[in-house]
Symmetry: C2
Subunit: 313 residues, 2 copies
């Protein structure tokens, strides 16, 4: 008899699905579409059907399934209830109970997507060897997850680790999707630096390598930064200023063993760590200086690994 775990990460466009063995090794992965129509009511049945299909293909019996882990892009309580998830059209209900009902699998663990990605990185990725990490995901927004003693810190409203919505600039005029302004993700997300580049390229006539590109993403910005481009430096400096400051504030609260930096922007490699760390050290108090910074390693698989870790806990 084998032992299997399904690790599932629900995104706004696709659901990432992984089959793992009982030791947490990935055996297979695939994606299905996230069908958001009818208030997202098709999403969990689609997942259950995909699990059943995979069980059939591989001849997996239901008693061989140790559990199902699931990441959801919204606030999740410790017992697996979602507190509204605008992205998927979901209201408030127990995701864990629904998945149990649909699959017949008793052990279902559900976490917020940024949190399960953080747990995955702590368990098998850039945070390996550290019990207490804070992961920051630099993508469309700035996501965060706090892992303490190898476990997700969920928070009272499932909203611990909301690093991206720290108010970094009281005078910040940049409105945020969350309804506030001056949030970290308005300065340090991939979206933010791309928007800033566009503003500077279109709004000024300053010379810059960035003008050579039709589309300026984080890659073009960091490449130009490394080449000494002044405009790119201004963009990267602002990105790093607020992110370094923000992570120093995180240290004041939880004093983690390490920070893990992930998301699209982190694919630019060590330079990203270097610029963040320089600003972090300026604002960190003495006992927080010299903190470890690591790049995330699992990419889009981090969330799946994290949900599997929750099942194995």
């Amino acid at each position: 008899m084998g032992q299997y775990i399904y690790g599932i990460d629900i995104g706004g466009t696709t659901v990432k699905m992984g089959l793992f063995d009982g030791a947490g090794e990935m055996l297979d992965k695939w994606e299905i579409e996230t069908r958001k129509e009818d208030s997202g009511s098709k999403i969990l049945p689609d997942i259950a059907a995909s699990i059943e299909k995979k069980n059939g293909e591989r001849g997996i019996a239901s008693e061989e399934i140790l559990g199902i882990g699931m990441g959801v892009p919204g606030p999740i309580t410790e017992d697996g209830r979602v507190l509204k998830c605008v992205n998927l059209g979901w209201g408030v209900f127990s995701v864990a109970d629904k998945v149990r009902e649909l699959t017949g699998v008793e052990k279902v663990r559900v976490g917020n997507d940024a949190n399960v990605a953080a747990l995955g990185e702590q368990w098998r990725g850039g945070g390996r060897g550290f019990d207490n990490i804070v992961m920051v995901t630099l993508g469309t927004g700035v996501g965060g997850g706090v892992i303490l003693d190898g476990k997700i810190l969920t928070g009272n409203n499932g909203a611990a680790g909301e690093i991206g919505h720290m108010t970094m600039n009281l005078d910040g005029k940049r409105p945020c999707t969350c309804g506030k302004s001056g949030c970290l993700e308005q300065y340090s997300s991939a979206t933010a630096i791309m928007r800033r580049a566009k503003e500077l390229v279109e709004g000024t006539d300053r010379p810059s390598m960035l003008r050579e590109h039709d589309k300026i993403t984080g890659k073009e910005i960091f490449d130009a930064y490394k080449a000494g481009d002044e405009m790119a430096k201004e963009i990267v400096d602002e990105f790093a200023l607020y992110l370094g400051l923000g992570l120093s504030l995180v240290s004041n609260v939880v004093d983690p063993d390490a920070f893990v930096i992930g998301g699209g922007v982190s694919k630019n490699g060590q330079v990203v760590i270097d610029v963040i760390k320089e600003q972090y050290e300026k604002n960190a108090m003495l006992p927080h200086k010299g903190k470890e910074f690591r790049l995330a390693e699992l990419g889009n698989d981090a969330g799946m690994y994290g949900t599997v870790r929750m099942v194995l806990e």
Copy 2:
């Protein structure tokens, strides 16, 4: 046979000592001087002698002592080592081992003073009924303690909950004792508001009730604020602006069940909560709004209670 616990809170001037029963009820409390000469080497022997004397007075046998809890004004690791404590003249050593050696009591638990005060308030004070709180102590500085699942969050270098040294103002010219500038405690400690009052009274000729006092402490400032004094309002507004913002950032990281506000400034009562909460709500993201704020209740006894809780864990 009785059951007794000693709860001890070491301060820079006095050591607060408490005798508790096995259920955590305080039976007796007293203070001894903190003798800091000879690099603070007399402090722990003085405490051990005071315990021995109390045992003699009350006829307590050593096997009736469940344990000793101790709060220390410096960073402490989870296993009870102090990582330098400038206030007491201490370097790096195991406080727990030293107390075991001096008293013969095996179960010794040591925590940072702000952290044990937070734990005391969570267990028996203003944070009763909440598992996850962040306590902020507004005194000479701004202290902090993070309690998660009823336990102190220590942090990698014993420096979690260092709320007072969050950099709140990048342009802040006010130097802090920690070596940085713009730290929260430079705006929101008792010291900070007293200094600001002095600056405004001596540096301007604006009318204010505050001019009627020889010495302006937090009490005079909050009394004048409640009476509608403009200068006091300016001082209280700045105090609340940074503290409310700072606590919103704390929510972004740990999303606690409640905040507990203690220290000398909190003795001014509900008005302190009201002004902090107003600014907190402005900066909190949606899932963090409406958070509970409570006044601390145990005063100077909070630390002793917290150390006893550590022994009982």
